[in-house]
């Protein structure tokens, strides 16, 4: 089987999970596409999963109430082994990329990290991935009975529901106790469309000037055109914006249809997170700013003057 560990939040599968389903369906290779749903009280998620996968395996228990890398790795490895999975697909999220290597070591299997394409030919799995701060695209390959892959969000078009619902099975898992204690949590919620799911993103950099300006210009424009809001690391480090909005090497990787950068210089670490956007728009007062080199459309000007005019014009 091709085993996909489902990611879900708020009782729903993430878009990244549906992208993995599509990747598995189109990769070639043998065996049913199987979603593994882990958590507590996940019957709803399992039902949703059955609309997309031929088989759904459900691990529903108190031990799975909260994510922990060692627990998730044990669950995924056990099911992969029992089901003789040829492919184990895990989300290319922060959490996915932290437990996937543990699964690979447990199964003594090769690990292809952060794949943007995937093809299976017999026991050989080939994938592409971005390296050198996303400036290079490498093709990597591994041959083994089981190969572990993490899939970069936004790289595949999400799967559509299948005509017939898949079968659901409960699974018994032998799980280790979590050794890491979570002593506090700060969740960064936004009422806007999630960054990795947005078609249009408006991002503000230090050039926006202040937290107040960020609210007026960046959020103002985003709300006017129904876009998600992003930020550069400089702005996050300055405490203007939450980390959840950071785009770049150490933030999120996004690939929207349009990425509108306001007062962003275009450092390589930032470009590595948004450089694959379909259209890039830059507004910056410095005509030499590196962001213009990757921009399709740009305005050389002051965000304080241009953005109010844009918000006004967008009303029409």
């Amino acid at each position: 089987m091709k085993l996909i560990v489902a990611e879900h939040t708020g009782g729903k599968l993430t878009k990244a999970t549906l992208e993995m389903v599509a990747a598995a369906q189109n990769a070639g290779g043998e065996g049913p596409v199987t979603l593994l749903v882990l958590g507590q009280g996940v019957a709803g998620v399992a039902n949703e999963a059955a609309q997309y996968a031929e088989q759904v395996l459900v691990g529903d228990s108190a031990a799975l109430a909260a994510y922990n890398p060692e627990v998730w790795a044990a669950a995924a490895a056990q099911i992969a082994q029992e089901g003789e999975a040829s492919l184990v697909m895990i989300g290319g999220s922060r959490s996915g990329r932290e437990y996937a290597p543990r699964v690979a070591v447990k199964l003594d299997a090769p690990y292809l990290e952060d794949a943007t394409s995937l093809s299976v030919n017999g026991t050989t799995v080939q994938a592409q991935r971005y390296t050198y701060l996303a400036r290079v695209t490498e093709t990597v390959e591994a041959s083994a009975p089981t190969v572990i892959v993490t899939v970069k969000p936004g790289s595949f078009a999400p799967a559509a529901p299948a005509a017939a619902a898949g079968e659901q099975y409960d699974v018994e898992l032998e799980l280790p106790a979590a050794r890491t204690q979570v002593t506090g949590r700060s969740v960064e919620k936004t009422s806007r469309v999630a960054l990795t799911e947005a078609d249009v993103i408006v991002t503000g950099g230090r050039g926006v000037g202040s937290p107040d300006n960020f609210a007026t210009y960046v959020e103002g424009l985003a709300d006017r055109i129904g876009a998600g809001v992003g930020a550069t690391r400089a702005v996050v480090d300055a405490g203007w914006r939450p980390y959840a909005e950071q785009v770049g090497q150490t933030g999120k990787t996004v690939q929207p249809k349009a990425y509108i950068a306001l007062g962003v210089s275009g450092a390589v670490q930032h470009l590595s997170g948004m450089g694959k956007s379909k259209f890039i728009v830059a507004i910056n007062k410095d005509a030499e700013a590196p962001i213009f080199k990757v921009a399709d459309y740009g305005i050389v000007g002051d965000v304080n003057q241009i953005v109010p005019a844009l918000i006004e014009a967008a009303k029409k």
Partner: protein, 253 residues
Amino acid sequence: MNILTLVRQVPDAEARVKVSGSAVDLEGATLVIDGMDEYGVEEALRLREGGANIETITALAIGPKRNEDALRTALAMGVDRAIHVETDEKLDAVALSRVVAQIAQAENITLILVGGQEADWDSQALGAATAERLGWPQLTWTNELKIEGESLSGRHDVDDGNESFSAPLPAVVTTQQGLNEPRYPTLPNIMKAKRKELRKDTLDTYGAANTVRVVNAEIQTRARMNRVIDGKDPQAAAEQLLDLLRNEAKVLA
């Protein structure tokens, strides 16, 4: 306790990357210690300076000759000794973790610090793979770290925000920007570092076999239109941009 901190020598982030044939070509590139690894070196030193009972801080590099420079940087920053497992073979993280885990055991290590993401291969895998081999817990994307007796505490980033944690030692921690500000090696420390131990080792005894082949590398750039509008008349510029986004790119309604 003993700390192992992993370092690598990589192309500077601002350096132009080039591809020759089907592989990345580092010829002529400016090489530096991986910024992510520098946070690990700095953190090890700070933990000691903060009063944790740390006997030896060892920097480890596995890779080609150039990594010696990263080890020299770590020694000059203040680590006690260095180990270089020299090989020209590019090993994947699962294979590398075999080497790191064996060295950690041989050196009686309690805490391993690993860069959160490699500046060249963009991989985040080695820390977790090593933790699994050793049967240790791991904390990734750490931006605050304390040692209290036999346990670690701190804060790290997770999918939707951040968490405070505590975890038993031994453990693997991956580092990132924000954890600290790495120090610059001073001239006296650079001189002193020349006398510190840099042990050379080979891959032979570790049984680390690569399983991931790089079959091609290319620089794919999307051609950009670079249509730049002068913003002297903000209103006209704004209207022109909106028109392009709506009617040419068709990305806005």
